[in-house]
């Protein structure tokens, strides 16, 4: 049967298992929207295209599936660029469908024309311009395959209006074969044995886990290895949730705002197992002093990550889960022959003492509300079971430090790009992925205003997303840097002109709460979490509270500023 391009597109999406589409219509995509009512796919109308891409990203992070967004040509497409770069930096599988002017007009500076394939080339895993309807089904199939396989990432498909209108015979390509793309998943057996031997020889081993553990669903194997072999675990921001945050072997996050125990452990370890992490500058600090005593093992699915920032002793290109499972298989039969518990006891004790000497802490106040206290209360009230999205800055770091994540896919945060305005739309996407779960956006008063328009999306879809604004009237993280490194020159970081967030919530038809007294935090937070529908909680926190520990940019991990 002959179908139009729009019909073929929607049929392909359905066959790829797409249930939700985050989008915003426009002239170049009307033909797709015209067919949408005939499809079983739910469309979520956002209020800005950046909201659509972040929601698709949040959906992907919370569900592990591919998130999809649909926008029009020109400004619709360019509005997604920040979100595409966000997903690219964090290796999140999303497919972005953009409208394009009709093929005869491409290159003529037509109305709402932009070369979105050119613009997004450096921030997508791959992108396509479909010029011929006969390629459409293949391209959509490849786009989903590329987005979710290997090291996942965003894939953009640009769809000219005329290609959506013409008809062709629809043939579903059963196989996706690409001669130039064959990601390697299986770990090399010899390398696995090498790693196993290094673990057996190590006296002070440490696991440094990243987002790849979560992407590959390697958390169970990782937890097994850590617990059976008595190896302490630290993780990057992207890795939070890959190991239970309440386990005695858990050290907390490492790096710039990492814990004292984690950074000291890196500095003293004789073996560091980097799994699905990429030695980002926020993690390593000064690279030349990173893990100075350790042999480095680096497991990653992307060969370019290996030997990029640091040179490692044992590289292992493989899917993290398969590599961790292979390690488990290698270690399990001889587990009895080695006394890992006894062998690592003094090391584990030492690491735990560091944790006790300088735990994550803050000075509680009786007059002002400490933001860390608010996150702690959120953790208690939700029993650590909520999905936490964050914006970027101090709110993000406090959420990462004081909420003890137990499970993967429960912490949604823009790690690589550091995109303010990410959290709220991502929370909306996550709520669609997990309708039964409590989804909370831990926000700052600055970043929440970057995508505040999505309140309408949340309210009209009856979503129960809770926004907790740690409101200090500052762009807090920049202010912190200005305080510590720029002579307290708080240039343009004071945001004292802000909306009344309670009234704003009400204006959108949501519920607003304000907390100004320490004594009210627990009670009002509880009430807010129990209130159905979208809720904003405006928490007036200590204005000049800083995130500690802090390793100044470019310094060694041991040069920590502590509370």
């Amino acid at each position: 049967m002959e179908l139009t391009g729009a019909q073929i597109l929607l049929e392909c999406l359905k066959r790829e298992g797409v249930e939700v589409l985050f989008g915003f219509p426009g002239g170049a995509v009307i033909d797709i929207y015209n067919e949408l009512p005939n499809s079983s796919i739910k469309h979520v109308l956002v209020r800005h295209e950046q909201g659509a891409i972040h929601a698709a990203d949040g959906f992907a992070r919370a569900s592990g599936k591919v998130g999809v967004c649909l926008v029009t040509s020109g400004p619709g497409a360019t509005n997604t660029v920040t979100g595409i770069a966000t997903a690219y930096m964090d290796s999140i599988p999303v497919v972005i469908l953009t409208g394009q002017v009709p093929t005869p007009l491409i290159g003529n500076d037509a109305f709402q024309e932009v070369d979105i394939v050119g613009i997004t080339r450096p921030c997508t895993k791959h992108n396509y311009l479909v010029k011929d309807i006969r390629e459409l089904a293949h391209v959509i199939r490849q786009a989903f395959y590329l987005a979710k396989s290997g090291r996942p990432g965003p894939v953009l498909v640009d769809l000219p209006k005329d290609v959506m209108q013409v008809k062709t015979e629809f043939i579903w390509p059963e196989d996706v074969k690409m001669r130039s793309y064959n990601p390697n998943y299986k770990p090399h057996a010899g390398q696995i044995r090498k790693v196993a031997n290094l673990i057996r020889e190590a006296e002070r081993p440490l696991i440094y886990a990243g987002g790849g553990v979560i992407t590959s669903k390697g958390h169970e194997a990782l937890t097994w290895l850590a617990q059976k072999l008595h190896i302490p675990v630290t993780a990057t921001l992207m890795g939070l949730g890959c190991f239970p945050g309440d386990d005695p072997l858990w050290l907390g996050m490492l790096g710039m705002h990492g814990t004292y125990a984690a950074n000291m452990a890196v500095n003293n370890a004789d073996l560091v197992l980097a799994v699905g992490a990429r030695f980002d500058d926020r993690v390593t600090g000064k690279v030349s002093t990173f893990a100075p005593m350790a042999k480095l093992v680096h497991i990653d699915i992307d060969p370019t990550s290996i030997q990029k920032n640091v040179s490692v002793h044992v590289p292992l290109v493989a899917d993290c889960r398969l590599a961790l499972e292979a390690l488990k298989e290698e270690m399990e039969p001889t587990l009895e022959d080695y006394d890992f518990e006894g062998g690592h006891m003094s090391w584990v004790t030492k690491v735990q003492v560091w944790g006790k000497e300088h735990p994550l802490t803050y000075k509680q106040s009786e007059t002002t509300i400490k933001p860390q206290y608010v996150v702690e209360k959120l953790y208690e009230l939700t029993n650590g079971d909520a999905i936490i999205a964050t914006e970027v800055g101090q709110n993000q770091m406090w959420a990462a430090q004081f909420y003890k994540f137990k499970r993967p896919n429960t912490f949604l945060s823009s790690g690589g790009l550091g995109t303010m305005g990410y959290g709220f739309p991502a929370a909306i996407g996550a709520q669609f992925a997990c309708p039964g779960k409590m989804v909370i956006d831990v926000a700052g008063d600055g970043s929440i205003q970057m995508n505040i328009q999505e309140m309408a999306t949340s309210v009209c879809n009856n979503l129960g997303v809770k926004i907790v604004i740690l409101n200090n009237g500052y762009l807090g993280m920049v202010r912190q840097w200005q305080e510590l490194f720029y002579n307290r020159n708080y240039c343009e970081t004071c945001m004292d002109a802000q909306p009344d967030f309670v009234k704003l919530a009400e204006a959108y038809g949501a519920t607003g709460f304000r907390i100004t007294e320490v004594g009210d935090v627990e009670r009002i937070l509880k009430q807010a979490l129990e209130t159905p529908g979208t809720v904003i909680v405006d928490v007036r926190v200590e204005r000049e509270e800083n995130v500690y520990p802090m390793v100044p940019a470019g310094a060694s991990l041991t040069d920590m500023l502590l509370v």
Binding site: G118, R121, H126, L129, M178, R179, S180, P303
Partner: protein, 160 residues
């Protein structure tokens, strides 16, 4: 150290900007880049010469392989290969020095492809060093125009 990479790519729009964008975006250096068709109309071969230490070259090769439209990357520097560049030079020539220029042309087995009263246009092929030597020798006569092709390369057949 200079490396010559042979990069087999899908012959489709945008592939050149994917490759060149990778170099600019990551701060790698392209010394020369040459693209041409192969017997398979769906496939092109790029010859890229670039410079960098071992770690940078390793990154360049891996990053190229990561591009979806790149089928194969071979670093010809590590193997026996034939490297050739073509150059065309328009050189000032008068009665006093024409014979001397022609001697250089002869020694380097170049070709004169165009002649006028006061100019000689010379075509030369060879590896990078030979071309540079020719250019160096002819500079003193005054080179009015130069056009270099960039490197093309091929791995040598394995000896039986």
């Amino acid at each position: 150290m200079r490396h010559t990479l042979s990069v087999t790519v899908e012959n489709e729009p945008g592939v050149l900007s994917r490759v060149s964008g990778l170099f600019t975006g990551r701060g790698f250096n392209i010394e020369s880049l040459n693209v041409g068709p192969t017997l398979d109309p769906g496939v092109s071969v790029m010859t890229i010469t670039t410079e960098g230490d071992e770690q940078i070259i390793e990154q360049i090769v891996k990053q190229l392989r990561k591009l979806i439209t790149v089928i194969k990357v071979v670093d010809l520097t590590e193997m026996k290969s034939v490297l050739r560049e073509l150059v065309m030079l328009k050189v000032n020539a008068n009665d006093a020095n024409r014979a001397e220029i022609l001697r250089v042309v002869d020694i380097f087995r170049c070709k004169v492809v165009d002649v006028s009263i006061d100019e000689l246009t010379i075509e030369a092929t060879g590896n990078h060093e030979k071309i540079s030597a020719i250019v160096g020798l002819l500079t003193r006569f005054g080179i009015k125009e130069i056009s270099r092709s960039g490197m093309v390369a091929m791995k040598r057949s394995t000896q039986g």
